[in-house]
Amino acid sequence: MSENRTLYTITVFSENTVGVLNQITTIFTRRQLNIETLSVSPSAIKGIHKFTITTFSDNEEVIKKLIPLIDKRVDILKAYYNTNEDLVHQELALYKLSTEKVLEHGSIEYLVRKYNVRILEVSTDCVVFLKAGHYEETQGLFDELADTIGVLQFVRSGRIAITKSKVERLSDMLAKREQDNQDRLNSL
């Protein structure tokens, strides 16, 4: 794959109805865009879901054209894209390790300090680490654990992100739409 490709983060707000994800992904599929990560959850506004999707592209034009196509779907409220510079973003990763091997290795304090790891679970069989961070950071810990202790199970969440510059104006947009509609009804 091309070296000068950029990771774009696409944020989508939608009504919480069946099949919205399919509507979004078919737009990616038609344009041969591979979804790198995906995170979906209820947004700050009740009944509205927020999708955070990342995808690589070597052409910003492709992403620019993607946004209005998502935006125009009836169930979608708003879509926009950003690059990493515009965002505060985060991923979570969970690592399951063998307790026996961890104890053998004897490096828990080192790992916790170096990677700011939280320990979620310790049993006679396994230890579960949690690490929040950027991809490189969660990957860094994985690589070190894999080389030393060995990782029994590993999972990483999709990216979640918040824009640095702009305030999220979805509620303003909704208020304006409601007001415009009220004006329209009053003018009838």
Partner: protein, 583 residues
């Protein structure tokens, strides 16, 4: 009638307060939306709806087609000429999948449709039940909205949303997939028309600054040139368009779907754009200084190679769909919004223009095209009958007042090139998807949409046989359509490409055809086959004066070619005229 056989809606005088079946709710919802005509085909999973329809025969006319593809194309033809939402009603599984081509066609050509499909009972959903298909999964990418109804309480709500979504903004098809149990379950009917959805902004906000900039660009242009698309027709902005064009004195050309928005003989009308469009309109795209695109989407059949398309021009793009702006062609000024509102605003800011010299620059190319292509196509005098000749004679015989419906292929290009229009909504053709088999059922639908107008359906021998079963619909209802079959015993457009680009290797394009007149006769359709030029005028008169459906089969030149032609992906100035002619 026996009360037992009637729906509760009709039996009970105080029906409003009584729970009624989902099917009854569906029909009443359609009535609330003003639906008078439905094209459909029954089957197991939609039977309760057809049963309810039985009680409403007086108010809703159901046209039983012979294949679900025909139902959707008929609904498209109906919608395109009548400016109403077309409605198709089909069963689950194969009924719904047969409708897919028409739905996709409607999506590409922005035709407002509501397609209602039956679905297996909700408890069986996802179990590979008999005649179950994932209709929502299949249709989401080819509809404006697709929704599965699994609760009887949702029926009225969903129908109301469906009509609002299909008809508003940039129109398009909507699919409602309705599980069979919801068709029989009961609830109270309460219909609220939808006019607002917070997640859906059908008409984007107008930007006064862009309007002013557009007006300024056009006022200062030396060689302004407008491209008119179907958006003008869909936006009911024909008058506003003419006012704009006349004040600015801007020559214009139409996309295929934009044809008939302005009468053919309007002095500013320069003709048709695109691969088989007129010479001057294509050439001048690359000579104008300001290109004004109005309700069109820069389809590749119009632009050819984007790298060489209108690079010298500043582009102003009027569209209701923000996703069309900068999709194919980079715009200088974008005028988003409803063209019925934006055009007058721009006109208001315009200075009165005068571009006689620039307009005169089109004329030598019109003359060239007439001499090298048109005169031989329309007035060959001797030799085999030409497709263009037939179209020309038919449009003249109807005083250019008929509705032209076409199938897809060479005859389509000839029809769109040579048919003439005096009123809007007079062309029904499959533009974006290029669906063979579209013509006959779309023509039937068009006749229901405009019963007082003459409907001329131009078809080829290939396309007609893709939906020829709709002769049955004509038989059943006596639909008065005039079918002009331009028979060259070839899949002509593919054959043309084989001749030009595949070393005349005619792979699978020759057709051994049946006796079409006999087939028509079997369906009680009057028919006549014309092989000689001398018979043509008389046969056209006979067809037009005949009360009822008529099949006029004209045996045309076997290896006729559609010129001019811009080879696929080529520059709009790279125009082939054929027969050794050069520009």
């Amino acid at each position: 009638m026996n009360k037992v056989n009637q729906s509760p809606a009709i039996v009970s005088p105080s029906a409003e307060a009584q729970p009624i079946s989902g099917s009854e709710i569906l029909i009443r919802s359609l009535l609330a939306e003003g639906v008078e005509t439905i094209f459909g085909y029954p089957g197991g999973a939609i039977m309760p709806v057809f049963d309810a329809l039985y009680d409403h025969k007086e108010r809703i006319k159901h046209i039983l087609v012979r294949h679900e593809q025909g139902a959707v194309h008929a609904a498209q033809g109906y919608a395109r000429v009548s400016d109403k939402v077309g409605v198709a009603l089909v069963t689950s599984g194969p009924g719904a999948t047969n409708a897919i081509t028409g739905i996709t066609d409607a999506m590409m050509d922005s035709t407002p449709l509501v397609v209602i499909s039956g679905q297996v009972i909700s408890s069986l959903l996802g179990s590979d039940a008999f005649q179950e298909a994932d209709v929502i999964g299949i249709t989401q990418p080819i509809t404006k909205w697709a929704y599965q109804i699994r609760r009887v309480e949702d029926i009225a709500w969903a129908v109301s949303r469906a009509f609002h979504i299909a008809a508003s903004g940039r129109p398009g098809p909507v699919v409602l997939d309705i599980a069979k149990d919801t068709q029989v379950n009961k609830c109270i009917f309460d219909y609220q028309k939808t006019s607002f959805l917070r997640s859906y902004q059908p008409v984007p906000d107008m930007d006064e600054e862009q309007i002013r900039m557009a007006a300024e660009l056009i006022s200062n242009a030396k060689k302004p040139y407008a491209l008119v698309g179907q958006g003008v027709i869909l936006g009911h902005a024909e008058k506003e368009l003419v006012a704009f064009l006349e004040k600015a004195d801007v020559p214009f050309a139409s996309t295929i779907l934009g044809l008939s928005a302005v009468p053919t003989d309007h002095p500013l009308n320069c003709g048709m754009l695109g691969m088989h469009g007129n010479v001057a309109p294509n050439l001048k795209t690359n000579e104008c200084d300001v290109l004004i695109a109005i309700g069109m989407r820069f389809d590749d059949r119009v632009t050819g190679d984007l790298k060489t398309y209108a690079k010298q021009a500043k582009v102003i793009h009027f569209d209701i769909d923000p996703a069309e702006i900068n999709k194919n062609v980079q715009t200088t000024v974008k005028v988003v919004g409803d063209v019925k509102q934006t055009l007058p605003k721009v006109t208001e800011h315009l200075q009165k223009g005068s571009h006689q010299e620039w307009r005169a620059e089109f004329k030598p190319f019109d003359k060239k095209e007439f001499e090298t292509v048109i005169s031989n196509e329309l007035f060959p005098g001797t030799g085999p009958i030409k497709m263009g000749e037939v179209v020309h004679k038919v449009t003249e015989a109807t005083q250019n007042s008929a509705i032209c419906v076409t199938d897809v292929g060479q005859h389509q290009m000839m029809s769109t090139r040579y048919f003439k229009y005096t009123q809007t909504r007079s062309l029904v053709t499959s533009g974006g998807l290029g669906t063979m088999g579209f013509g006959l059922p779309a023509g039937i639908g068009a006749k229901y949409g405009a019963p007082d107008r003459t409907v001329c359906i131009f078809v080829g021998d290939g396309g007609l046989q893709m939906t020829i079963q709709e002769f049955g619909t004509i038989l059943e209802y006596g639909v008065d359509v005039k079918i002009i079959l331009l028979n060259n015993n070839y899949l002509g457009m593919v054959r043309q490409w084989q001749e030009l680009f595949f070393d005349e290797r005619y792979s699978e394009t020759h057709l051994k055809n049946p006796d079409f007149i006999k087939i028509a006769d079997a369906y009680n359709i009057r028919g006549r086959k014309v092989t000689e030029r001398e018979e043509l005028d008389g046969a056209i008169d006979e067809m037009l004066s005949h009360k009822g459906a008529y099949l006029l089969e004209v045996v045309v030149e076997t290896k006729g070619m559609v010129y001019p032609m811009i080879p696929s992906g080529g520059c709009v100035t790279n125009i082939l005229l054929g027969n050794g002619h050069k520009l």
